[in-house]
């Protein structure tokens, strides 16, 4: 039980008053930047790097970890309240969370996301402390063909889950896949669909698309409906806190979300978005109240939120054990390590155990702080919903525009935001689900480059996709998920006609 002793030692490092203060600054800043779309934790850490140069390494790394966790928390607040995901990983949360908020259940939605994040963050951090070496071996063996298979699972489940009909879901998905083709092709360096505009060479920014479709589109839609039928928003209906039933419906999604988030987050190309989508789809299938999905089901908030925070902890596994940064924020933290002449990797655990275990221990503390910081704010946040609609949506538009400018100050970016806003409006108007567009933009390019990498390694032999047991299994799951609904439907009809 070496790990326990090391962790206890780490705890002693983390509870030093200065380190506690750094953790608090970190989670506070993280929550603040997570709320703003466009300004992510990566940018914040980048801006703070030169400032922390003079601080001691332990303290500033603890602060960075706090920012990272805090950002994951903060992004969900705006997603729930004003349908503006602060981070792309909070997108799944916006789907049900915002519906809940509009139905006067914003309090429970925020609470289940805060508590779910806490539960997931804590379990995942424990997982990181104990499973890191084992998990890293697994993650490294995950090859391009396995990633491609994982993407296939995500595509199938996602397009089947969102929207009223698979055709509408698939249409949305293909819009996203097309947008994903824009920019420099990662494997050959050639520009595609950029129409000679240098700003398009790096592709469409996910946050621009998500904010445009969700926030701007929503604002336009609400404005267009204003004289038809006023949508009633009740700030609070029933209890502000989670009821017993809410708890009963939340705890399983929390755990399942953690199971998706942590391992996928630990994969070098896993990311935080895929587990949130997978969690959302799973909850929708397993829920006893499937009819509530799309109208504000608490499971659809609890699961993705847990997945998103667990993946944040997962990301730290390859960072600490291999020196592999697998997200933008992790890359910045790596830069933070290097600033102190430390090289994360297999040697770090041996060379600087105080630092590593201090960091892990302060993640626990950051988690507690986030819960303490966020729960009392729930009552304050939901009051936002009492703002008269025209004001609220005008505010959202300002907020969305500012966030986009902060991330990328260019006219092209703003024009794209406006165009996506109109697209979002039209899709709402004609009842197409908007989430699959963003899913397509995020996953399409990854799936494409992983498939092409796999084929380049195998010299063009597609059998490689079935040779890896992991990839074969995942492709099998995707196939079953694709075919099963039709078969079951067919069987049902068959039986019905027999009667």
């Amino acid at each position: 039980m070496e790990t326990f002793a090391a962790l206890a030692h780490g705890m002693a490092v983390a509870v030093q008053p200065m380190n506690l203060l750094y953790a608090l600054i970190g989670v506070f800043l993280g929550t603040a930047v997570g709320v703003l779309p466009g300004i992510g934790p990566a940018l914040t850490v980048a801006l703070l790097l030169p400032v922390t140069y003079k601080l001691d390494p332990g303290g500033s790394l603890i602060m960075f970890a706090g920012i990272y966790y805090g950002g994951m928390y903060g992004g969900s607040t705006t997603a729930i309240l004003i349908n503006t995901p602060g981070e792309s990983a909070s997108m799944a949360t916006a789907l049900e969370g915002n519906k809940m908020a509009k139905a006067g259940r914003g309090g429970p939605a925020l609470a289940t996301s805060a508590i779910g994040s806490f539960v997931a963050g804590t379990i995942a951090t424990i997982g990181m402390a104990f499973l890191a070496p084992w998990l890293v071996d697994f993650a490294v063996r995950f090859g391009p063909e396995d990633y491609f298979a994982l993407m296939c699972v995500a595509f199938v489940t996602v397009s089947a889950t969102f929207g009223n009909s698979p055709i509408r879901g698939l249409t949305s998905l293909f819009i996203g896949l097309t947008l994903g083709l824009i920019g420099i092709d990662k494997l050959t360096g050639q520009a595609r669909l950029a129409f000679g505009m240098p700003e398009l060479l790096d592709g469409v920014e996910v946050t621009t698309l998500a904010v445009g479709l969700f926030a701007v589109g929503e604002a336009l839609y609400v404005a267009s409906r204003r004289h038809h039928a006023e949508e009633k928003i009740e700030p609070v209906r029933g209890s502000l806190w989670m009821t017993k039933q809410d708890w009963m419906r939340s705890w399983k999604p929390w755990l399942r979300g953690t199971m998706f988030g942590f391992p996928i987050g630990a994969l070098p190309a896993g990311g935080a978005e895929i587990p949130t989508f997978l969690s959302y789809s799973t909850e929708k299938r397993l829920s006893k109240h499937p009819e509530e999905f799309g109208k504000g089901a608490i499971e659809g908030v609890a699961g993705p939120e847990a997945a998103n925070n667990a993946s944040a902890a997962g990301t730290l596994v390859p960072l600490l054990t291999l020196g592999l940064p697998t997200s933008a924020t992790a890359a910045m933290m790596l830069a933070g390590f290097q600033q102190y002449g430390l090289n994360p990797g297999p040697l770090l655990f041996a060379e600087r155990p105080d630092l590593v275990w201090g960091l892990i221990a302060s993640l626990f503390i950051a988690n507690v702080m986030l819960l303490v910081l966020n729960l009392p704010l729930v009552g304050l946040w939901v009051r936002l919903l009492a703002i008269p609609q025209p004001w609220l949506y005008a505010g959202i538009l300002v907020f969305a525009t500012m966030g986009t400018i902060a991330a990328k100050p260019s006219v092209v970016e703003l024009s794209m935001l406006a165009a996506f806003g109109v697209l979002g409006f039209l899709m709402r108007r004609f009842d197409f689900p908007i989430a699959p567009v963003v899913v397509g933009l995020i996953l399409g390019p990854i799936a494409e480059s992983q498939l092409r990498r796999a084929l380049a390694i195998s010299l063009g032999d597609p059998i490689v996709l079935l040779q890896s047991p992991m990839s074969a299994t995942l492709l099998g799951i995707a196939l079953i998920a694709l075919v099963a609904p039709f078969v079951l439907k067919g069987l049902g009809r068959f039986r019905a006609s027999e009667d």
Binding site: L24, I25, F28, L29, A42, L43, V45, A46, L47, L49, P50, V51, Y53, K54, A139, V140, R141, F142, G143, P144, I184, D185, K186, L187, T188, G189, A191, P198, E199, L201, D202, P268, A269, P318, L322, G323, L324, P325, T326, A328, A331, M332, A335, Q338, Q339, Y340, G341, N343, P344, G345, P346, L347, L348, L377, K408, S449, R453, A456, I457, L459
Partner: protein, 322 residues
């Protein structure tokens, strides 16, 4: 809750101000553009310059701006058009930009900027997983000659320094560079996983990125691209193994077009003073960057030569259509 937060935030703001507080002794107010997102090599270089210029009291204030996109193509376009004739602006650039501009058919080229100085360079390395049968660079060369398509190289983005190096390696040993099986990954992390997992034959990257793995024995370095052996690093160069492959991932700083000779001298002097300052030397040591200071006509010449070399290589692998 609120006053406490405000105070905390105030503390952070104060910290920020303290760190960037200008030394009032100098009048130079500079703007340095990093044509990349925060966090990458160019951004770190720009921020390191900021730190050193201010700490050594060479400049009164230095502001770093980030203009990300397309390997620097967007940054340089904005720099050449927007900063023309402005003697207080500089831009960080490097090896990768040369290839990116050629591949993106950028209307703006490095010939338009005013060269100031090369600052740093990083040596490149080829690694294989510890259990690979390849022991030396010659083993790898033999494997490439035997069947070039079967040898897969993992490295960074297409047309970047790693890709150019793979092509140069093949060309140097007399294989057809056009046929190399180079697999670009988006960042050292992902490619490292592919190498450790044995998905590819060999990996190419900057030495510092894989140093930890090499020391811990998970990766074996086949060779480094320096001219001579580096003190303290027990890896043979390609040259001493009979393969004439010398290359470095350099970073430099340039000024806008249309500045006067006087303005150019002011900037060159400031950079020279910075390079000699203790603050800069500390940063180099801390980041593991090698000093590669080269200024004036020497640098202008170097920039031209590298542009020709990289463009030729990219043409040979078919990334740039001639």
């Amino acid at each position: 809750m609120m006053p406490f937060h405000t105070r905390l935030f105030g503390a952070v703001v104060a910290l920020t101000l303290a760190a960037t507080a200008p030394a009032l002794s100098q009048q130079l107010e500079l703007k340095i553009m990093a044509p990349a997102a925060p966090g990458g090599g160019w951004d770190q270089t720009a921020r390191a310059m900021q730190q050193a210029l201010v700490a050594a009291k060479i400049a009164r204030s230095v502001q770093v701006t980030n203009v990300a996109g397309a390997g620097g193509s967007i940054g340089i376009a904005q720099f050449v058009n927007g900063a023309k004739g402005d003697g207080n602006q500089m831009m960080v650039n490097g090896f990768v930009m040369v290839g990116a501009l050629a591949m993106n058919k950028s209307p703006v080229t490095l010939e338009q900027v005013t060269p100031i100085a090369r600052l740093t360079e990083e040596i490149q390395v080829i690694v294989v997983p510890a259990n690979s049968p390849l022991k030396t660079a010659q083993d790898l060369a033999a494997a490439v000659k035997a069947d070039i398509a079967k040898v897969t190289f993992a490295g960074g983005s297409a047309g970047g320094v790693d890709h150019v190096m793979a092509a140069l390696f093949a060309g140097t040993i007399g294989a057809d560079a056009k046929k190399i099986n180079y697999i670009p990954f988006s960042g050292g992390g992902e490619s490292l996983a592919a190498i450790l997992g044995g998905k590819v034959t060999a990996g190419i990257s900057g030495l510092s990125e894989y140093e930890g793995q090499i020391k811990s024995g998970k990766l074996r370095a086949l060779g480094v691209t320096s001219e001579k052996r580096i003190a303290g690093i027990d890896i043979p160069t390609f040259k001493e193994q009979g393969i004439d492959l010398v290359l470095a991932n350099w970073r430099s700083v340039v000024a806008p077009p249309g500045i006067t000779a006087e303005q150019r001298k002011t900037l060159s002097d400031a950079v020279e003073k910075m390079v000699k300052s203790d603050a800069w030397k500390d940063i180099l040591k801390q980041k593991g960057w090698d000093d590669a200071y080269l200024s004036g006509d020497g640098f202008a010449d170097f920039l031209k030569k590298e542009t020709t070399r990289v463009t030729d290589v990219l043409k040979s692998v078919g990334l740039v259509k001639s």
